[in-house]
């Protein structure tokens, strides 16, 4: 194997490792942290089924975002929907051998790259030109969008211009990563840039705002059932305090120890 292939193979495993361990730890942290207060926001679902539907609407349609800002919704939706199609299309590199029929249906959607790039550009333009959004942006917020743009554009360059890369070789490389049957990868610069930034993306996932992906599922204002009066809601630490009478009424004045 060429040196560059070895480096990229190593980078893949390193970034994947950071991703899995980092996300695992974050999701664990989110899940063990109790939610002592009942705080679903209106319109609140009254049943667990209602919560599931609310969550599905939030994740697939960005319902709340649609209510609050049509432009952000439009660009955000284009970007995420494009990203989803692109990612599904990418599975063909990782699944060894012939693809199941169903993926062939997705293959024509290579134009999803444009949805993604248009969405990202829209978000970037807003970030730069809307004073309110510029005010709340840190350098990392711009960089994140730029990075995704470069990934998208470098991908599109391979797909839509004559700078095609050897996709059979990519397939061997990528599926080899998963089956531990390593092989060389193509070395066109735009492909290497594409790949390198994807690794960076994986590695920063657990330490950046990309935590919105697990975050939305754990958000107490969105995942709670509005049944505070039907069922007692109390967190483990509050129950413990109660059992041990740590918070005493007759000690209203004075420090509780």
């Amino acid at each position: 194997m060429s040196t560059i292939s070895i480096i990229f193979t190593a980078l893949f495993y390193i970034s994947l490792f950071i991703f899995i361990v980092g996300m695992g730890r974050k999701i664990y942290q989110f899940s063990i942290t109790p939610a002592p207060l009942k705080i679903p926001t209106a319109p609140t679902p009254l049943t667990q089924t209602g919560v599931v539907f609310r969550m599905i609407r939030e994740v697939t349609l960005f319902e709340s975002l649609f209510r609050s800002n049509k432009w952000i919704w439009l660009f955000g939706f284009l970007f995420h929907f494009g990203l989803l199609l692109v990612l599904i299309r990418h599975l063909r590199y990782f699944i060894p051998g012939d693809l199941p029929e169903i993926f062939l249906l997705i293959q024509p959607f290579k134009y999803a790259a444009f949805l993604m790039v248009i969405g990202l550009s829209g978000l970037l333009v807003r970030r730069i030109f809307v004073p309110r959004i510029r005010y709340i942006s840190a350098p990392s917020d711009y960089l994140m969008l730029l990075m995704l743009l470069v990934i998208g554009i470098s991908g599109a360059v391979m797909t839509f211009t004559s700078n095609h890369t050897d996709v059979i070789m990519v397939k061997n490389f990528a599926s080899g990563l998963l089956t531990f049957d390593w092989s060389n990868l193509p070395t066109e610069t735009h492909f290497l840039v594409h790949l390198f930034l994807v690794f960076v993306l994986l590695a920063i996932f657990p330490i950046s705002k990309l935590l919105h992906v697990p975050g939305i599922f754990f958000s107490p204002t969105r995942n709670q059932v509005d049944n505070a009066r039907k069922k007692r809601h109390i967190s483990a630490w509050a129950l413990k305090q109660e059992k041990e009478h740590t918070v005493k009424l007759d000690q209203t004045l004075g420090e509780d120890k």
């Binding site: 974050k26 942290q29 989110f30 942290t33 109790p34 939610a35 002592p36 207060l37 705080i39 926001t41 209106a42 939030e58 960005f62 709340s64 975002l65 209510r67 609050s68 800002n69 952000i72 955000g76 978000l123 807003r126 970030r127 809307v130 004073p131 309110r132 959004i133 005010y135 709340i136 942006s137 840190a138 350098p139 990392s140 917020d141 960089l143 920063i204 330490i207 950046s208 705002k209 935590l211 919105h212 975050g215 939305i216 754990f218 958000s219 107490p220 204002t221 969105r222 967190s235 630490w237 509050a238 305090q241 740590t246 918070v247 009424l249 209203t252 004045l253 004075g254 420090e255 509780d256």
Partner: protein, 301 residues
């Protein structure tokens, strides 16, 4: 009689989003609490010497106790959807009153001391040190949030600035920077029984006056009982009902309904307050104490 002419501002069909005027609401914030009101609640009377360490430890404690705080601090993508949703921003134009910017006062500190990116690349991710200036901003801007939770409705992840404001106020109380209004009132609620500090005789007097007034106006002997043992219903109402217009009309109304229904009911002088200020200062324990008072009153009666 012709109604008096008022100059009522027109409500536009679409809210106009003001231009940013940074720092326009910069200031000292509300009156600070003093020893006398802080101590009884178990908070230090003045800013403690090692406030920075205490504050950071408290932030760590809170984010491990409240999933909301942890998830909200991590999840915001700075999309900007909430920026025009807070009435304090719409009314004041101060960008730090935009919900996400308000949270960022807290988030930038969280990032600086608790996250990899913030510890090593603070500039990149907008992480900031917890210094005097920051604490002043906390005190000022976290007290310009009414915890109404409007912003939460509009955030794609339901990020609720009220939860962050509560956490920030608890941190502030813990290092000895309390807000006078809330903490003084809590002291009264927990000793006298209501936020106004109306003692039993005053309450009794008010209710007797009310009975007379209602009898005069409506000709029915509507009673406003206090501390009546064995009553079927214990009414807990915000103490504004005892003196303020038009709140008192609410109390008058309750009495009439009970009178009409023929049920026995009572108010309690031990717990004559329905408004729990424990929430405003973000303290679960004090909130609980205030609620326990009501429970005790109910059991005693």
């Amino acid at each position: 009689m012709a109604a008096k002419e008022f100059d009522i501002p027109k409500l536009p069909t679409y809210i106009e989003i003001p231009e940013l005027k940074p720092g326009i609401m910069q200031g000292e914030g509300p009156f600070k609490s003093i020893d006398e009101f802080q101590k009884p609640l178990g908070f230090p009377g003045e800013k403690v010497d090692n406030w920075k360490e205490v504050a950071i430890e408290k932030i760590g404690d809170l984010k491990s106790k409240y999933r909301s705080v942890q998830v909200f601090l991590d999840s915001c993508v700075k999309c900007g959807a909430c920026t025009d949703k807070c009435h304090y921003f719409l009314g004041s134009s101060d960008p730090k009153n935009m919900p996400v910017a308000r949270q960022d006062l807290f988030r930038s500190v969280y990032r600086r001391y608790f996250t990899f990116a913030g510890k090593h690349f603070p500039k990149l991710v907008g992480a900031k040190d917890l210094d005097d200036e920051m604490i002043d901003d906390w005190y000022n801007y976290f007290h310009q949030c009414s915890q109404c939770r409007r912003c939460s409705v509009f955030c794609p992840y339901g990020i609720d600035t009220a939860e962050i404001s509560m956490a920030a106020r608890e941190v502030l109380d813990t290092i000895g920077i309390g807000q006078k209004y809330c903490n003084q009132i809590l002291g009264k609620a927990l000793t006298v029984g209501n936020n106004l500090g109306l003692p039993e005789p005053a309450l009794k007097d008010t209710l007797l006056d009310l009975e007379e007034e209602v009898e005069e106006d409506f000709g029915a002997p509507v009673k406003y009982p206090l501390d009546q043992k064995g009553a079927e219903i214990l009414l807990i109402t915000p103490s504004a009902d005892f003196f303020a217009e038009p709140h008192i009309d609410g109390l008058i109304g309750y009495g009439k309904v009970f009178y009409q229904d023929g049920v026995t009911w009572t108010l309690s002088s031990y717990a004559s307050e329905g408004a729990n200020f424990g929430m405003f200062i973000g303290s679960y324990d004090i909130m609980r104490k205030a609620a326990l008072r009501i429970r005790k009153a109910a059991l005693d009666l």
